[in-house]
Amino acid sequence: MLGKLDWSAIPFDQPIPLIAGAVVLVAILAVLIWVIVKGHLPYLWHEWITSVDHKRIGVMYILLASVMLLRGGSDAIMMRIQQAIAYQSQGYLPPEHYNQIFSAHGTIMIFFVAMPFVIGLMNLVVPLQLGVRDVAFPTLNSVGFWLTATGALLVNLSLVIGEFARTGWLAFPPLSELSYSPGVGVDYYAWSLQISGVGTLVAGINLVTTVLKLRTKGMNYLRMPMFCWTTLASNLLIVAAFPILTATLAMLLLDRYLGFHFFTNEAGGNVMMFMNLIWAWGHPEVYILVLPAFGIFSEVVSTFSGKALFGYRSMVLATMAICVISFMVWLHHFFTMGAGPDVNAIFGIASMIIAVPTGVKIYNWLFTMYGGRIRFATPMLWAVGFMVTFIIGGLTGVLVAVPPADFMLHNSMFLVAHFHNVIIGGVLFGAFAGFEYWFPKAFGFRLDERWGKLAFWFTFTGFYITFVPLYAAGMLGMTRRLQHYDVAEWRPWMVVAALGMAVLTIGVICQIMQLVVSIRNREALRDRTGDPWDGRSLEWATSSPPPVFNFAFYPDVRGEDAYWDMKSHAQQQSFEHEVPEYHDIEMPRNSPTGFICAFFASIMGFALIWHIWWMVILGGIGAFATFVVFAWRDHDEYIIPADEVARIDRINLEERRSLVSMAGAI
């Protein structure tokens, strides 16, 4: 009846996950009760859960990422404490548990923090920058988000019901095959990634189509803001790479569930095939994450330098070059696995070639800043911090792309330091920069600068204190994923790293404080102009938060930096005073499809993990029925009457006129 599920699945003997689970459960229940008692449920349902508005969905993605960042961060804290005390001792975590923690940490950070964060920012901003009303497929967008949330839910469920994988975040066979991992851990891993992977693919298709097919009048390719370009590149990579992950995990699941022999040691299975497939996805994946961050930095650097982006066309070229080359270097992840010197040499050189377009980007940012009027607001701090950090990460990356060096450093702490260097210094700093930069656009008030700067400095220094010691430990021969060790020289570095983690944690707390303080003071921080940073692209041309329809008219773009142009024209002509003629606007209706789909997907995923076959069938039928019902709908759009559009738009125009006249007076 319940497949493999019984009481032994609940880890009564392990206090840590149980307590953590209980705390989370109580927190969720408390929030739920508060929502219901306060009568917020209808609001949440109508305005958020069933919303197909790209801005709302973007915000929900970012919320999901932030919550999961806390979860993944707790795992990191636990690991750092363990390694600080586990010198010639068992530490405080049993090996079983430790292995689950690093697997969950990596999986969560990549799939449920970094991915939703960048996808959220792209969702929020790209249609605004393109000057259009929504993404190409709004309902599908909501489906994509909720499927991602399903994946996150399943991973967290593994904390209290059953176990998580003990295989590392890429679940290499044969360790992840049934014979070595008979429990449900790998199944949790694989199904949550399968489900959220579908969500990611949907988001990718959606954003590619949006950038290529939905641009406002005059927005030629070479007039798109840089962030739109990197979004395009990143989502092209999603469309090309995520199906590989889907296929690979499907093969692993077939091995585990039906006794197939893709990656087994028996009957001719081929483990190296898994390595090739997973890294053919995995290497592009890191560029999927970092390219949008590059785009954010381009926007931030040019806005806060008060200059157009230097070398715009070379930036576009570099982006697309990275997009293509990133598919040709996957083998550098297993230089040590016997491919031979020729193959290694070719992939080593190919890997280093990526440094060229990346270098072009760095120089372009520097030249953009050169001679500009630089304002060090919080987003700019993250951008500059990124440039310093990413250069170090990039250099160590080129180092591990040299095969002989990699033979020494492979799977060492040096590698762990390197990829955190690029992924925190690149992706996470970018995400934070974007968060600070576009927060006023999403909510209509700025974030508190003082707490923001504190958060930056603590995170920045904490980052170095945590990860520089890992480079050192790696040089001293410390391998990754060690539960405990006996080498005295490693010990001091682990202790310093743990202290660094404490500093990092203060950074996180500052960021939470920043949010709390800013929400408290939101009236004082309110931005009525919609353009708090003196921005250059179209998202600043509408009010903050933008109306559902974003723009009353499709803006007419005449060059790069569309809004900057409009502003400079307006200052000369003191804003055209002719009253525009407004039209009705059609917008997509809200739909619970995404939420209901995710509901059935959660049931199905859970049932698959525990082999509860009747429940699988039920979930499948439910999901199919949802789609049919959705397809059967008769009205998928509603009309916003011209009067209403005019009323909303006039407020925006008034604010903007006063802004221009003020600027003229200065």
């Binding site: 259009v132 190409a136 497929f137 693919l201 990718g204 298709i205 959606n206 590619v208 189509t209 290529l212 097919k213 939905l214 641009r215 406002t216 009048k217 005059g218 927005m219 030629n220 469309v239 090309a240 995520f242 199906p243 590989i244 889907t246 296929a247 690979t248 093969m251 077939l254 039906l258 006794g259 197939f260 022999h261 893709f262 087994t264 028996e266 009957a267 001719g268 299975g269 081929n270 095939m273 497939l277 499709y554 773009v557 005449r558 060059g559 142009d565 502003k567 400079s568 024209h569 200052q571 000369q572 199919f624 049919v628 397809a631 059967w632 008769d634 998928d636």
Partner: protein, 213 residues
Amino acid sequence: MSMTATVGHAHADPHHIGIVIEHPGPAPKRIVTAYGFWVFLLSDIVMFSCFFAAYAVLVSQTADGPKGSEIFEPHNVAIETVCLLLSSFTCGMAGIAADVRNRFWFYLGMAVTCVLGLIFLAIEFREFADLVARGYGPSRSAFLTAFFSLVGCHGLHVSAGVLWLLTMMAQVFAKGFRADVLRRMMCFALFWHALDIIWVGVFSVVYLLGGGA
């Protein structure tokens, strides 16, 4: 903003020079839908190519089990291929009928497509069941694993297609040739043709190359 900046802008703007063709604005819905669906199909083809790659890697790993040439029946495969190619034609006819709003020919085209798809599936199912009964199931060897997965994955897509086809017929029955129904019909037709193309790949790589060896 200084005066020169604006003047410079007017000169730099390709709009005034008239070289660049101005982007006209967001594309109509029909184009957007078809475009998005194309992108999806491409991603699906990437997924298939992983299974093709796996087949290529594992084809010789028979673990002392049967080789491809010992289990493939060219006769069956030929019938399957004819069914699928014909169904692509009838699907195209149904699409045209939908465009000219002819219900009769639409239903007929779809029904024939459906029957052909089902015949294809039945033959494939019989082939699989037969192999399993002889002890040559997917867990017999890595070669059979790859074979069952690649061909089965295509079969799964065809089954999904049949389900979609029936839903489309029901939609036209209930709602007529509405714009959104027509858009979906277009996507369905693209999907069905793509399955055909993938089958040509399966047919060549698995049955022609493997059968000869």
